[in-house]
């Protein structure tokens, strides 16, 4: 797996990533965060990959918008415990 997923960031930065991916940052915050991304390769990789990953999951959910799929995924979680 790529190295950038192993790197740890400050919890505040992690929160910024989730907010960035969830698209809930205000314009000013978004611009400032994107400035930070320009300077930090690992952080940028993580943020952009997470954003892309979320889009992929949304695509998957959209295509397989049936309860059977969700049940199967939830079942897989139950099997973990």
């Amino acid at each position: 797996m790529k190295n950038f997923t192993d790197k740890e960031f400050h919890p505040v930065i992690e929160e910024y990533i989730t907010d960035y991916v969830d698209d809930i940052l205000e314009n000013g915050e978004r611009a400032a965060f994107e400035e930070v991304l320009v300077h930090n390769d690992d952080l940028r990789e993580l943020a952009f990959s997470a954003k892309e990953g979320k889009k992929l999951i949304q695509q998957l959910v959209f295509i397989k918008a049936d309860e059977a799929f969700k049940k199967r995924m939830l079942l897989s979680l139950q099997n973990l415990s």
């Binding site: 790529k2 320009v38 990959s49 979320k54 939830l74």
Partner: protein, 203 residues
């Protein structure tokens, strides 16, 4: 600054090269293009997910650097200055594309009750084209192959649409950890899918 020496061009820093270029040394610019073409492409691909767009944006970025060379000041790192230009161009392209997906239904000038409206043109492919080319099975497989601690939170968040505090409560881990795991889970999923895709194809 010392006189420009063509034989030493590979040893100059980015900032030195930019200053030499400002003095009219074109080989200095060529060296910067050589150094940054691939890096810029990779940077922009993360933003656009479209190789053709990346090529256009890389070209446009270097064109802007060339035209705006005198606006660069050494107080900033050259790479920062250039990436900022690239990011702004990518944002502009994104906005332009968003507009392209809508077509205008012009109003009938002779009809005072008619008005112009915009409708989405489904025949124009969007960047999501990449995703549509991926098989659902591979996506599902990638999700199942995520590390359990990542899959758990990603499923709760992106499939069940639970709030972060709800996920923290269910899983019994701190909310910061939940967010960190979701970030990594999503990123790892993307990395797995990326490995399935032939990056040489034009999307």
């Amino acid at each position: 600054m010392d006189a420009f020496k063509y034989a030493q061009v590979a040893n100059y820093s980015d900032e030195d090269l930019m200053e030499y270029f400002q003095e009219g040394r074109e080989p200095a610019f060529n060296e910067l293009v050589q150094r940054y073409t691939d890096r810029l492409h990779n940077f922009l691909y993360r933003y656009t997910h479209n190789h053709q767009d990346c090529e256009d944006l890389v070209q446009e970025t270097f064109l802007r650097v060339h035209k705006s060379k005198q606006s660069y000041e050494r107080i900033a790192k050259f790479s920062t200055w250039m990436y900022t230009i690239a990011l702004n161009l990518a944002k502009s392209m994104y906005k332009k594309k968003q507009r392209m997906y809508k077509v205008s239904i012009h109003k009938d000038e002779t009809d005072p009750n008619d008005f112009e409206m915009m409708i989405e043109d489904k025949s124009i492919l969007q960047d999501e084209e990449l995703h549509q080319k991926l098989s659902v099975e591979k996506l599902e497989k990638a999700l199942m192959n995520l590390a359990p601690e990542f899959r758990e939170v990603v499923v709760y968040r992106d499939l069940q649409e639970l709030k972060y505090d709800e996920i923290a409560e269910i899983t019994g881990v701190a909310m910061g950890t939940v967010k960190s795991r979701i970030n990594r889970g999503r990123a790892q999923l993307q990395a797995m899918i990326e490995s399935y895709v032939d990056m040489g194809t034009s999307f």
